[in-house]
């Protein structure tokens, strides 16, 4: 053996032979699990995400947008539905509504517009009132105007006029904070008196309190009315704002605002009937139908020109519409999540190709196929899960602001978040698996030779 080589070897840092051996034994005795730890796989995956930060962010963006859309849309949809449900339940499930038209058809009261001829009249309401028994606690026929110009002094606002009976308070659950509803005397004498909503109050009399307002006058269509009551603030609904309503006696409405007739009787938009005990609703519904048929002289149910509907049925149909809508929007958002997944797959395939040589080196140093598989699979899952978490946060923020703008309650449904997260993780697994498997199956020699 050449002396030179020996000398060269001595140039290397001197090693104490005994200590070296001791160390060697110590190392050999250390426990080894024989497998790559999860923490280690996570570290490898995270490093490669970090090494291509911009690319990783852009890849995750697909999932971020998808998850944010799902969470936001489902939350807003649920908020709107909740709002509608709240409104319905504030009327109570004891309410029956009679309106013109044939057959079923749902929709909240605000949306019910007689598509055909108005056939329900004030005379029907009077007929029901005449025959009403103890089961019925209130009857309120109603007419409703389009938005009207209202004046008080130099102040202006617009409001919806509702002509009805004093029972409106109980029937529509619209209590007062000051004053009182008009009396039946006011109704009979067609007095010009009004119960106003809180928005009308603040718009027309910004500096006046509700109680001080009683007795003041406002002008509707250039005719003055005395304010007799102020409604309590009510939750606004998606469709209409009950706080900008003005309620006046229906006879006054028919004389001063508008009037149309059916067989010589003034028509009404609807007649709301409040049933005392919820258990009687079905029975009263049947009785009212019979009564209306008699009043309208119809014997065959196919000829009925009116509907008697209960709130529960209407609520059901409305929530069904919203659920379908929410589901539909959620599905569209889900598709964008799928597209995000395809983006992940695409980048993972590129990444596997780019790192062919690294894979070869790792295999040559003892990486098992499952180690390589988990490394790449975890990278994809990490991308999609981190994307999912960011997406959920953004989705909740969007939901927060849009429900605020729509003034509906923020209903962040936990299931939708869990589902969105699980879905994004599943997207990572599903779209990450193929590239990872491809990496795991690479031949070590071929990958080492890869340029």
């Amino acid at each position: 053996m050449s002396e030179l080589i020996r000398k060269q070897a001595q140039l290397l840092p001197p090693v104490n032979e005994a200590e070296d051996l001791e160390e060697f034994i110590r190392f050999e005795d250390e426990p080894r699990s024989g497998r790559l730890s999860f923490a280690e796989i996570l570290k490898i995956a995270w490093r490669s995400i970090r090494a291509n930060m911009l690319r990783s962010i852009l890849t995750a963006l697909g999932v971020i947008i998808g998850v944010a859309a799902v969470v936001a849309l489902v939350s807003v949809g649920n908020g709107v539905r909740q709002n509608v449900t709240n409104r319905f339940s504030s009327f109570g499930t004891n309410l029956l509504t009679i309106s013109s038209g044939q057959g079923g058809g749902g929709g909240p009261p605000g949306l019910v517009r007689g598509g055909g001829a108005q056939t329900v009249t004030l005379a029907d309401a009077e007929g029901i009132a005449a025959l009403a028994d103890k089961r019925i606690s209130g009857i309120a026929p109603a007419l409703q105007s389009n938005s009207q110009q209202i004046k008080a002094g130099s102040n202006n606002t617009t409001a919806t006029l509702i002509g009805t009976w004093p029972d409106y308070e109980t029937v529509q659950n619209a209590p007062l904070q000051a004053g009182s509803y008009f009396s039946s005397d006011d109704l009979d004498k067609r007095r010009r008196v009004a119960v106003i909503g809180t928005d009308v109050l603040t718009e027309l009399f910004p500096d006046t309190t509700a109680s001080a307002l009683i007795g003041q006058s406002i002008k509707i269509a250039n005719i003055s009315y005395d304010v007799v009551g102020v409604l309590k603030e009510q939750a606004t609904a998606g469709f209409s704002n009950p706080n900008s309503n003005i309620i006046i006696p229906i006879n006054t409405y028919l004389q001063r605002i508008e009037r149309s007739e059916y067989q010589g009787e003034p028509t009404v938009r609807s007649i709301a009937v409040h049933v005392t005990d919820a258990r009687d609703v079905t029975a009263v519904e049947t009785d009212l139908t019979t009564l209306m048929a008699n009043l309208h002289e119809k014997t065959n149910s196919a000829d009925y020109d009116f509907n008697v509907r209960n709130q529960a049925a209407q609520l059901e149909s409305v929530t069904a519409v919203f659920s379908t809508l929410t589901l539909f929007l959620g599905a569209i958002a889900g598709i964008s999540l799928l597209v995000g997944g395809i983006g992940i797959m695409n980048i993972m395939l590129v990444s596997v190709t780019e790192r062919t040589r690294e894979i070869g080196v790792r295999k040559a140093l003892g990486a098992k196929p499952r180690d390589i598989l988990s490394q790449f699979l975890l990278e994809a899952i990490l991308l999609s899960c981190v994307g999912g978490l960011i997406g959920i946060s953004i989705g909740v923020i969007i939901a927060y602001f849009s429900t605020k703008a729509l003034s509906v309650p923020l209903v962040v449904s936990l299931p939708s978040i869990v589902l969105a997260f699980a879905f994004s993780a599943a997207v990572g697994i599903f779209f990450g698996f193929y590239p990872a498997q491809r990496a795991a199956k690479l031949d070590p020699v071929d990958s080492l030779r890869y340029e």
Binding site: F27, P31, L36, P369
Partner: protein, 247 residues
Amino acid sequence: MTSPVLSLKNIKKVYVMGESEFWALKGVSFDLYEGEMVALMGPSGSGKSTMMNIIGILDNATEGDYILRGENVSDLDEFDRAEIRNAYIGFIFQSFHLLPRLNLLENVEVPLTYAGYAPRVRRDRALDMLEKVGLADKRRNLPSQISGGQKQRVAVARALAMNPALLLADEPTGNLDTQTGNEIMGLFHKLNDEGVTVLIVTHEAEIAEQTKRSIRLRDGLLETDQVHKQVRPQLQGAQRQEAGLAS
């Protein structure tokens, strides 16, 4: 007489490229014994790297048997092959093949990671190995921040991390000047003295002269297999065996 560490019997390797096929190895046989230091020589394209890849079980022979530690390698699945590569064989590549994004310490740690050692143990061991090749002070450098000779030394440190019984080096000095080449060779001698079996591919005669035995390939066939001075008794026996197979 000890049984050979590894035994190659009539190894053939064919590369198929579309229609044509090329026999890179046409039937090579030899044994390696524990504690040997052998040079694998031959002109370019004679099949040295192909042979090394088969011995390092990175690649499979098309025909023939490769018995490693008494086991026929072709019977092993990819899982077991990975374990043998990890714990039993140290492979040094001609082009280093360090992982570019990991620093030197982390590069040396890679095989220890796959063996499942705890982080502290790994770190200590990798640092020991870097110390052994004189690069402990550069442990935080990336491979792109060191010279070619230093890269080769890191590759050696990495190959030694798992304390392998068999060290395979494909032209370890090919990219290095004589001085650094000799440093690397000095390291191999030290390991060989510790009992590690070393197989070095080289085309440099001076390198081959420093070994105890050299095997020469030509056109995929074993041309010569000669033992230099300082031959151990059992090697002579092995030598006779191989001569019989090769001729």
